[in-house]
């Protein structure tokens, strides 16, 4: 009897406690309905908030609040000045850029931002002790000259018309020299992701950094001395880490997060349904610069023949794949230039689903159908494998569909998926694949030299490295890719990239599958949320956000 009583009492106490809690907690228990907090759902935690060392887009999403860049890429995909008075002046030969900084921009500790801070960024990017993810744009700099506190000049080693874009992204966010140089010196001339600044950053952006709880959240608060008068409007921004897309959706539905950026394709309908059911949310869908592709290993004699590659393109039902696997949330791709880019060529060679044509092309290439339903040529069977990183359901489904459809035209396809770090760290780098399926994220400039240029061909035998994993080599394309970087006139550049797209669509070193479409769901009363498909991410204009 006694034991029963104890249990009863415990249960009663718990029920009463919860009752009281929820009775009074209606405001904050299951979601911040208070207007001064905006909770942004993040799929991953960040590694560093130091722009010198940062690489991941999750970090950009947060650092857009803490730091400022010299210029921005806006939602209309145009450059606009941020810390600059106006966009930089370019010299006749296109190699010298002159920058003019805004006066009176303050870091969160009250110190003014000057040209020295920008120069310091350059020095830090090139410092041997710093593990900087990408040095590409910095290595192109020949000279950095400070004219005065607000004016500086950068001279490039050689003409590169794509160089300026980087200044709009997180790798060029300006950290304060006066704080970071101490850490750099004290830490034996190096900055690390584990350093103080990485975890406690100070910038000149609209929001001050408050707190980072690993794997939980990052909290920012309004910086009242932000250089744009009257902004930002929202007091507190919390980035909450929710490591699973199911949980993200669940938390968005229950109001635990306000913004769900990067929703999955199959969740789009559900988000729309929420809106129709009267929930006050807005759902944005827009094309991104990331595309999925299936890479042929051209070193394999089967794929050296263009007709085989084209046949496989024809034999894959791309539109149906987009419609069913992606619920239509994807844009057909024929080449590597995104549809929302100025250099996009709308009419390219299209590979609409046509198994008969595929069979015909394979016949022409000498692959004859055998008794077992598998084609063969000179006694060798048309058998190959297709690989991607396991756990990526969309890519796994691509492989399953590809196997079914290609087997039907007489191939013998084996699916061999690897976990991501094996695929990217071993299989690709040592070119141990036949067909590899993954994604590239691109800038909004059409340049793609690192992917298709002969110089970039990977060869484990000679130790040559690059990103041309497929081993594609086309001297004419090489010329065009080089010329594309040197042509300042956009109309003329457009022609160059039109030709590049034609060549790639004809040669198909990759099967270009589709461009990702991004989905972002936000509260309906959040004004000025302007999705941005570039690396600037959707927080690019945080200073403008306000509650309606």
């Amino acid at each position: 009897m006694k034991k029963k009583n104890v249990t009863l009492i415990i249960v009663a106490v718990l029920v009463v406690a919860f009752g009281l809690y929820y009775a009074f907690a209606s405001k904050s228990a299951l979601g911040p309905k208070k207007k001064d907090v905006l909770v942004w759902g993040m799929l991953t935690d960040v590694e560093t908030l130091n722009p010198i060392l940062s690489e991941a887009s999750a970090e950009t999403i947060m650092m857009n609040g803490i730091f400022s860049t010299l210029m921005k890429v806006n939602d209309k995909l145009e450059f606009e000045p941020d810390l600059l008075e106006e966009l930089p002046e370019v010299s006749e030969d296109g190699k010298v850029y002159t920058f003019k900084l805004r006066k009176g921009v303050k870091f969160h500790d009250g110190v003014e931002l000057t040209a020295e801070d920008v120069e310091f960024l350059y020095e830090m990017k090139m410092a041997p002790g710093n593990i900087v993810p990408s040095r590409a744009m910095w290595e192109k700099i020949d000279k950095f000259e400070i004219i005065d506190d607000y004016n500086f000049k950068i001279t490039l080693k050689e003409l590169d018309v794509t160089w300026l874009e980087g200044w709009a992204y997180s790798e060029c966010m300006i950290p304060p020299k006066h704080i970071l140089e101490k850490e750099y010196a004290e830490n034996g001339n190096s900055l690390t992701k584990g350093g103080e600044f990485s975890r406690n950053p100070i910038g000149s952006g609209p929001y001050k950094f408050i707190e980072w709880k690993a794997n939980e959240y990052v909290k920012l608060e309004r910086f009242d001395d932000y250089y744009r008068e009257g902004s930002p409007k929202i007091k507190t921004i919390v980035y909450k880490v929710v490591p699973d897309t199911n949980s993200l959706l669940a938390q968005f539905k229950s109001g635990e997060i306000d913004v769900y950026d990067g929703a999955q394709a199959n969740q789009y309908k559900e988000l729309l349904a929420m809106k129709e059911a009267g929930q006050k949310i807005e759902v944005h869908k827009y094309p991104a610069y990331v595309y999925m592709h299936a890479d042929f290993n051209l070193r394999n004699p089967i794929f050296a023949d263009k007709r085989v590659r084209q046949a496989l393109c024809y034999a894959f039902p791309k539109q149906q794949f987009i419609d069913t696997v992606l619920d239509g949330i994807g844009t057909w791709a024929d080449s590597c230039v995104a549809p929302n880019c100025w250099a996009f060529k709308p009419e390219l060679k299209r590979y609409d689903y046509d198994p008969d044509k595929a069979a015909q092309l394979l016949e022409e290439a000498g692959w004859k159908l055998g008794a077992d339903g598998v084609r063969a040529k000179d006694g060798k069977k048309l058998s190959f494998s297709i690989t991607t990183n396991s756990g990526n359901k969309i890519r796994e489904k691509f492989n399953e569909i590809a196997k079914q459809e290609w087997d039907a035209v007489g191939c013998d396809v084996t699916i061999q998926n690897y976990e991501a770090s094996t695929l990217f760290g071993d299989i690709l780098e040592n070119v141990k694949f036949d067909i590899a399926v993954f994604g590239w994220s691109a800038g909004f400039d059409p340049d793609c030299k690192t992917l298709y240029h002969t110089e970039q061909i990977v060869d484990p035998a000679t130790g040559a490295t690059g990103q041309n994993y497929v081993g594609y080599s086309n001297p004419h394309l090489d010329q065009l890719l080089d010329a594309g970087l040197k042509e300042p006139d956009q109309e003329k550049r457009k022609e160059i990239y039109y030709e590049i797209q034609d060549i790639l669509a004809e040669d198909v070193p990759y099967i270009f599958v589709y461009y990702y479409n991004e989905i972002a769901a936000v509260p309906a009363n959040l004004a000025n949320f302007k999705p941005n498909p570039t690396q600037a991410t959707n927080t690019w204009n945080m200073y403008e956000w306000e509650w309606k």
């Binding site: 060392l53 593990i131 900087v132 229950s254 691109a442």
Partner: protein, 329 residues
Amino acid sequence: MGRKVIKRILVSILSLFVISIFSFALMQLAPGGPMAMYAENPKITAADKERIKVQMGLDKPVHIRYYRWITHMLRGDMGKSYMTGRPVSTEILTRLPATLKLMFASFIISVGIAIPIGIYSATHRYSFADQIVTFGSFFGISIPSFWFGLLMILVFSLSLKILPAGGYSTPWFDPSEYPLIIRPIAVFIENFKYLIMPAIVLSLMNTASWSRYMRSSMLDVINQDYIRTARAKGVPEKQVVNKHALRNAMTPIITIMGLDLPSFFAGAVITETIFAWPGMGRLFITAVNNRDYQVLMGIVMVTAVLVLLGNFIADLLYSILDPRVKYEG
């Protein structure tokens, strides 16, 4: 006993050393490497990757890296994470409390449920309640835990909306919103509500299996001669169970709890993933996916130490509870 304890400690240290070589070799031999995290970003060129490899010391052969790791380790330095650049000890220490909190809560739930129902079903063998308990415990060990977790989220977070779907704390929680009297309650529940579902899911398997153990251990004891004698002498049944049988029946359970410690960590990997719990299990998964060798080694060593320690304590308890058992190393 003192000598036995010392011997046990020495053996444990040797074991840790063997574990370190074994796991270091395994991890380094696994295909792929930490550079894979830079894949799919065409801006990070091959030259960048080569440079970073050298900067991280990944270009050195395995045995040299192990030598470097173990010499640093002996000085108490577990190295730095490739991913975050923070010391591994910091990475682990920031996650360990969450995992321990979860493990402790689920341990309490498991013990609190398993022991009483184990006793009850042993003393009421073949009764209807015993059948239910038996069936329930088989249910507990037969259901995939990730599936059970998802069902709980569906019911309690999405349908009933009384518990958060995941997370660890509310960043915007402000106790001053509550009237003073219930403020402590609010703070308590604020911490408690995130814990409920993960702790239940993590405790499911252990609750089920421990109640089975408790039942069979209790049955063993009840049928011993001395209990029969006590009964024959007319000692009340309640006293027989609580005074005489329970103490002896508990001893094997304690060993088993010690042995089950690793499974807590194993379960934490799944539970933390489902409920976005920021503990060591998730740290482990991220570290494996990114081949963050230093962090992996750190986690393996820390869990191994905890497990060895847990078994050690269980053995000590065992010898205290049951004076017939001499402590054996």
